[in-house]
Symmetry: C2
């Protein structure tokens, strides 16, 4: 179990790309739009893990709602796991409150499940199992 | 520039250690108290970077104030840099609002400086230069 990426909710993706790419000097690894999550993503190499900048394409998407209620900022921490169903079963068995009782398709061909922030002390935690052969956008 | 650690503000360090160590199954790498920051830290291996659980030892410490206003959750992202003074100069030169105009001593023998969340789109960013020979608590 290792950190796969940190998701950061931003209001202006172009301004955020300037900060992370030009000012902080991180390397852009991919950009994509994920219509099911109503989000545009710009992912940067944070050294063995990614910083994913997330801009909502709609006020009613999960990132749009987060920005409206909490403002821009760190949205979630994603851990890469070998078997997401096994991880979900283990956490649910330990009494941890989950958002997803069963894994669902995520970006890049991953299978993902979210732990409820109330189950992880205020942190939205994503569990992600990469597809065989690696991320489709990588 | 790579992510060194994520700092997570917690209210109950023992309960948080149970979640990260026993339920999520991460490996504890060090524990320490940092009196200057009024914080107890438990650091876990997130795969080349650390998850640092931070519990305030005083309501008027930075973590205590954060928890009082925002609740527990992700507090900051720290990047390891080779020369923290050079990074501060570069960011300040690019017009990024800093908390620390000059580096100051951090935990483990590091020299650190914080970027203001208003300078980094709602994210509290720490820059950290490790001491020669590695972290003192590592």
């Amino acid at each position: 179990m290792r950190v796969d990426h940190i998701g950061i909710a931003v209001e202006d993706l172009e301004a955020a790309k300037k900060l992370y790419g030009e000012v902080l000097g991180l390397r852009l690894v991919f950009e994509e739009e994920v219509p099911t999550e109503k989000v545009k993503v710009a992912a940067y190499d944070g050294g063995g893990m990614r910083i994913e900048l997330l801009m909502s394409t709609s006020p009613d998407g999960p990132i749009g709602r987060h920005v409206a209620s909490r403002g821009p900022g760190i949205h979630h921490v994603c851990y890469a796991v070998d078997d997401v169903q096994a991880s979900v079963d283990r956490l649910a068995g330990a009494g941890v409150r989950m958002i997803d009782a069963a894994p669902r398709p995520g970006a890049g061909g991953c299978r993902v499940a979210f732990v409820h922030p109330k189950g992880a002390m205020g942190v939205l935690v994503e569990l992600s199992q990469h597809p065989p052969g690696g991320l489709h956008h990588a």
